[in-house]
């Protein structure tokens, strides 16, 4: 009797509890395993450990230290360099993207796209060399400007200062802006310009009521991404500064390598967690805006 009941119950149970999840989740397993193990697990553990004291008890002490000097200055500098480099690169980059996408030939656009792809990823020592060669103490531009009567090294300037770093960051921020803002320009349809002109608008009216309102969200989104890129850049800052400019990524690197000793073992993790939070505050709105504007950008 019991035997019979079990035999009858088996298929239903199998379908509801076993077959269904397997069939609908199994093909995603390799991706989920790799991303889970090499990405989600480390990040989760990082955030968890940032709340641990040296004795492995839960504490907020690491964060208290993270918001005191010199780490406070590090955050302020990093946020400042992210904001400034994004603010300086955003408008020129947007205009460059507009002129290249609307006036350039297909060949030119593709060449520039490739070039920007490479430029947006330059950083570290190679980028530092380029700027040492151009506006370093013995740089070509420095010499030319000196002949013209402007010694850029007369004051406080050096490439390892905030201003120096800002100029160097523009080298990858500007191409990055062109890359991420171009799709919005491409999606502006000719018909809209024509429709506006047919309704009696002039160029100014078109931009005020159609062009700018359409592009503005993408512009803000691009600005946010640029901020995150400048805020978290490590390689270039590491190559240019010699510990004279406190920046959070460098401080984390120093703590990780043990170059800098801190009484709190998990301070570096707390700094990293705060970085993730700040970066998320910029990137998540960026992703949301991108997704929304993708709707009208589709043809």
């Amino acid at each position: 009797m019991t035997h019979l009941v079990i035999e009858e119950g088996a298929p239903t149970r199998g379908r509801t509890f076993f077959t269904f999840p397997l069939k609908s989740y199994l093909p995603a397993l390799p991706l989920l395993l790799v991303v889970g193990y090499f990405f989600l697990f480390p990040i989760t553990k990082l955030i968890y450990v940032s709340f641990l004291s040296n004795e492995n008890t839960l504490t907020l002490g690491n964060f208290v230290t993270a918001f005191k000097d010199p780490y406070k200055t590090g955050f302020i500098n990093s946020i400042k360099i992210g904001l400034f480099s994004a603010a300086i690169a955003a408008l020129p980059g947007a205009f460059a993207a507009y002129f290249i996408e609307t006036r350039g030939s297909s060949k030119l656009r593709r060449t520039i796209a490739v070039m920007n792809g490479v430029l947006a990823n330059t950083g570290g020592v190679p980028l530092a060399f380029m700027f040492f060669a151009a506006i370093g103490v013995q740089g070509q531009i420095t010499k030319i400007l000196k002949v013209l009567g402007w010694d850029i090294y007369a004051g406080q300037f050096s490439l390892g200062t905030f201003t120096g770093l800002l100029i160097v960051y523009l080298y990858f921020q500007l191409p990055l802006m062109i890359i991420i803002f171009s799709p919005a320009i491409v999606a502006l349809r000719r018909e809209w310009v024509e429709a506006a002109y047919n309704l009696g608008a002039n160029q100014f009216n078109y931009w005020r009521t159609v062009g700018i309102p359409l592009l503005f969200p993408s512009f803000v989104a691009s600005f946010l991404l640029l901020f995150a890129s400048g805020f978290s850049a490590y390689a270039t800052a590491n190559a240019l500064t010699v510990g004279n400019l406190p920046l959070t990524p460098l401080q984390i690197g120093g703590l990780l390598d043990g170059n800098v000793s801190a009484s709190q073992l998990n301070l570096g993790k707390a700094l990293s967690s705060v970085m993730i939070l700040i970066s998320a505050l910029a990137i998540i709105p960026y992703l949301i805006i991108q997704r929304r504007s993708a709707r009208w950008q589709k043809r």
């Binding site: 609908s24 989740y25 093909p27 995603a28 390799p30 991706l31 989920l32 790799v34 991303v35 090499f38 990405f39 697990f41 480390p42 990040i43 553990k45 990082l46 450990v49 460059a96 002129f99 290249i100 006036r103 350039g104 060449t111 796209a113 490739v114 070039m115 792809g117 490479v118 430029l119 570290g124 020592v125 190679p126 060399f129 380029m130 700027f131 040492f132 060669a133 151009a134 070509q140 531009i141 080298y171 500007l174 191409p175 995150a228 805020f231 978290s232 490590y234 190559a239 984390i252 690197g253 990780l256 570096g268 993790k269 990293s272 967690s273 970085m275 970066s279 990137i283 998540i284 992703l287």
Partner: protein, 255 residues
């Protein structure tokens, strides 16, 4: 008339070109200096490529990048194809996960990897392709996702299946050729990003081509500048080659 219309473009390109090429040319000028003899020559380039380490590190970075490309394609192509076909509830989740690496600064990711991955993973350089895979995921996923949205995937798969192809064969000989533009773009971005990755590599104490340049800079600065120039030109050539091999502005990515 034509000139007047093109004036803003010419102006843009001049300014942008000036900003991009002046530092590049300045560095190039340094790299061909021969201070001892005076004048110019290819001495430092020859010095660089004849270093044993040059070949060693370029091969090392090359095969790490190759492995990253392999992992990316092997994992992503079948998974995204399946997500498109099955209407699985997981798609929303995986879409979101694929963008997550953009949110995490690489420095923070490096710290996380260092404290959480076990000894046997961290003692082999083979951890790098998997970590690079994560860094490239947002770009690779997006590119393949757009490619797969642009083809009649269901029709193609059904046709292949009813002609007797198994899933692997369907992917290899039907789907991949249909989205070759996206696949090539994915290969390009993944390869170039992994080849030039510095932050994660150096913080996890591995030596690859980009970190080796830092080391060379301490003993032969002009040689290091020569290597840096090459490290800019090599990705440029790879990307240009792949872009030119693709059909011009194909209808991929647009329905």
């Amino acid at each position: 008339m034509k000139f007047k219309r093109n004036l803003p473009l010419i102006l843009t390109l001049t300014l942008f070109g000036f900003f991009v090429f002046v530092p590049m040319i300045s560095a190039f000028e340094y790299s061909i200096r021969t201070p001892l003899e005076g004048g110019y020559g290819w001495k430092h380039y020859i010095w660089a490529v004849t270093q044993d380490d040059f070949v060693y590190y370029i091969m090392r970075s090359g095969w790490l990048a190759f492995l990253t490309v392999l992992i990316t394609l092997l994992i992503l192509v079948p998974t995204i194809t399946w997500l498109h076909l099955s209407q699985s509830p997981l798609r929303v989740l995986i879409d979101a996960i694929s963008l997550l690496p953009l949110v995490i600064p690489v420095v923070a990711f490096a710290v996380g990897a260092q404290i959480s991955l076990p000894e046997f993973v961290q003692s082999t350089i083979l951890e790098l392709p998997f970590l690079y895979f994560v860094l490239c995921l947002p770009y690779a996923y997006r590119s393949l996702d757009i490619g797969l949205s642009a083809i009649p995937l269901k029709t193609l798969t059904e046709a292949a299946r009813s002609s007797g192809a198994n899933p692997i064969r369907t992917i290899n000989s039907v789907i991949v050729p249909a989205i070759r533009g996206s696949v090539m773009a994915t290969v390009a971005i993944t390869f170039v990003l992994s080849l030039g990755e510095y932050t994660l590599t150096v913080l996890l104490h591995w030596d690859t081509f980009p970190t080796w340049v830092t080391f060379v800079a301490q003993e032969n600065i002009l040689g290091a500048i020569a290597i840096s120039m090459m490290s800019l030109i090599i990705p440029f050539l790879i990307l240009t080659g792949i872009t030119l091999a693709l059909p011009e502005r194909s209808n991929q990515g647009r329905k």
